[in-house]
């Protein structure tokens, strides 16, 4: 079997033994969409347009929910490194004839699958239950952004999981990242009207790039000039995290 296929197959077999996990990966973002989305929509009933010409809060939130799906799935998959360390297989895996990047890329396979399924569920929910208008013609682009986002976050969290010895330390780091990266981005609200320092931080946040890109592919809003920059930023971020995570694997002991 080819290395990447074999790593994917391993992850698939492992995840299938514990399918409950998958439920939470997908359920949490959908719950956000329904509860958070509807709640705010009611509250802001007066203002019909949010940010850049977006009709209604649920429409505004939906691309953010997709980003949240990629983030959650990636975080939970990288948590699996601790299970592998616990069983000792983590260290044995490092002796197999697979390059470190092949190993990491093989491991995102299953996460990508989950993220894409989660995203499609969120879109269907948004369209059917919340009456959100979607750019169906750009759906392939949406899928590409979901894949790139999942990969970026997975490589980022893998690097952390590989380097840290203790699971509680990992949980602290990821919880902090969860709050900071999601709230310092336009996931839940437009950042244009916020304070300058906040906008600067948000601009440097890869989550912002991903959410902006998803808003374009799903709703058709945004300006072309910054989007290219953000797309390049996201790809660069993914590659940098892959390199750092590979490096961490080379220094495990």
């Amino acid at each position: 079997m080819r290395p990447i296929t074999a790593v994917f197959y391993r992850d698939y077999r492992q995840r299938m033994t514990n399918i409950g996990f998958v439920f939470w990966d997908l359920f949490v973002p959908l719950a956000y969409l329904m509860l958070f989305g509807l709640g705010f929509e009611r509250m802001m009933a007066g203002s019909s347009v949010i940010g850049d010409q977006i009709p209604g809060y649920t429409a505004f939130l939906l691309p953010g929910v997709l980003a949240m799906v990629t983030f959650t799935v990636a975080m939970n998959t990288s948590w699996g490194f601790f299970m592998d360390k616990d069983s000792g297989i983590f260290y044995e895996l490092l002796t197999y004839p697979i390059t470190r990047p092949q190993f990491l890329i093989g491991k995102i396979g299953f996460s990508v699958l989950l993220s894409v399924i989660g995203s499609l569920l969120a879109i269907v929910l948004g369209v059917v239950a919340l009456d959100i208008g979607i750019r169906w013609d750009l759906l392939p682009l949406t899928v590409v952004i979901v894949v790139a986002g999942t990969a970026s976050w997975f490589f980022l969290f893998s690097m952390v999981a590989i380097r840290l010895q203790r699971m509680d330390a990992f949980n602290t780091v990821t919880s902090a990242a969860y709050i900071l990266l999601m709230f310092m981005s336009p996931m839940f609200y437009p950042v244009v009207d916020l304070r300058a320092w906040f906008r600067t931080v948000a601009w440097l946040n890869p989550m912002t790039w991903q959410v902006d890109l998803l808003r374009v592919s799903m709703l058709g809003t945004g300006s072309a000039a910054t989007l290219w920059l953000e797309a390049a930023g996201l790809v660069g971020f993914a590659l940098a995290c892959l390199a750092l995570a590979s490096r961490a694997l080379n220094r495990a002991h």
Binding site: M1, A6, I89, Y96, N250
Partner: protein
């Protein structure tokens, strides 16, 4: 021809949690020719596992060079990994997967095709008495059984080099014997085996060449015979008398043996020193209490080990 394993002046310093450097390997060099069974022996913390982890590309060396079949582990890690199957000291089995999946996925991850892996899996499971447990999840198995899976996995492969770090720990004697027989058979077929062990009798029985390390340094290496010569001053003497009594035991103790065991009318003594002078003293004893049987043997590996450890700085 290049050796199967070449280690040259390998050093490794770990940075401990407190920040103080720990020197785990301090300039170790050795070569293992193809088809040889090579044993690494040393007390806890000697650096055996560190050596294994460097050779198997888990952790980088601080300096020096390690190569397997000519492939430098630092510069050509992928090629190097293709040459070996490794059993680490730490247990390593996929807890959530079945025994069957453990064997198969290990083979897949080493590039084996499905059809071949299936066939081998059956044979390996049979040999290691896992046939009845193929559908069990590893999590539910005993520690020894997990270890058996970990070792059985390497026989799914044809990798020319096998590396085992205290691999038989936790196995029952019958399974240990089976693994040792299998390793010997593999070496005869030309595979090279590097193993570390604390069970000295195992090394004595299995290894053609043995290296003793302590605190990251080589203390001695060679065949068992060569190691015996290095510790020629240590030897074991068996004596038997018509009967023993307190006075006789007192006289034996006066010879200052490292060890003295009296068992009915027989006595076993371990000595460190000149054989000739001892023989004179024993002759004196024999004049009063005749020695009926007398035998001098070279040291066992354990005695060599103890003697070298005692002499080391």
């Amino acid at each position: 021809m290049t050796h199967a394993i070449e280690i040259e002046d390998l050093r490794k310093t770990y940075r401990s949690k407190s920040g103080t450097p720990v020197l785990a390997l301090d300039g170790v060099s050795f070569q293992v020719p193809q088809g040889r069974i090579y044993g690494l022996l040393g007390p806890n913390g000697a650096g055996k596992s560190t050596l294994v982890k460097i050779i198997s590309t888990i952790t980088p060396a601080s300096s020096g060079r390690a190569a397997v079949r000519g492939f430098d582990v630092a510069r050509q890690p992928l090629e190097a990994r293709r040459q070996m199957a490794v059993v680490l000291q730490q247990a390593a089995a996929e807890n959530l997967l079945t025994v069957r999946d453990n064997l198969l996925i290990y083979a897949y991850l080493h590039g084996m095709a499905r059809s071949i892996a299936e066939k081998r899996m059956k044979a390996v499971a049979e040999e290691f008495e896992l046939g009845g447990r193929l559908r069990d999840t590893v999590q539910e198995l005993s520690i020894g059984t997990k270890r058996r899976i970990q070792v059985a996995k390497i026989f799914m492969l044809d990798a020319p080099i096998i590396i085992l770090d205290e691999a038989t720990t936790g196995m029952d004697p019958l399974m240990k014997r089976r693994v040792m027989d299998r390793l010997r058979a593999e070496a005869r077929k030309g595979r090279t085996i590097l193993l570390t062990t604390q069970v000295l009798s195992e090394a004595e029985e299995l290894c053609e060449t043995i290296m003793l390390i302590n605190r990251g340094r080589t203390m001695a290496s060679g065949t068992l015979l060569e190691l015996r010569k290095r510790t020629a001053h240590t030897f074991r003497v068996s004596l038997s008398f018509a009967q023993t009594n307190g006075e006789l035991i007192g006289r034996l103790e006066a010879l200052k043996p490292l060890e003295l065991q009296v068992n009915g009318s027989a006595a076993e003594l371990l000595f460190h020193g000149e054989e000739a002078s001892l023989l004179g003293k024993l002759a004196d004893i024999s004049r009063d209490t005749p020695i009926l049987q007398f035998e001098v043997r070279g040291p066992t590996l354990e005695e060599i080990f103890v003697s070298l450890m005692r002499d080391s700085p």
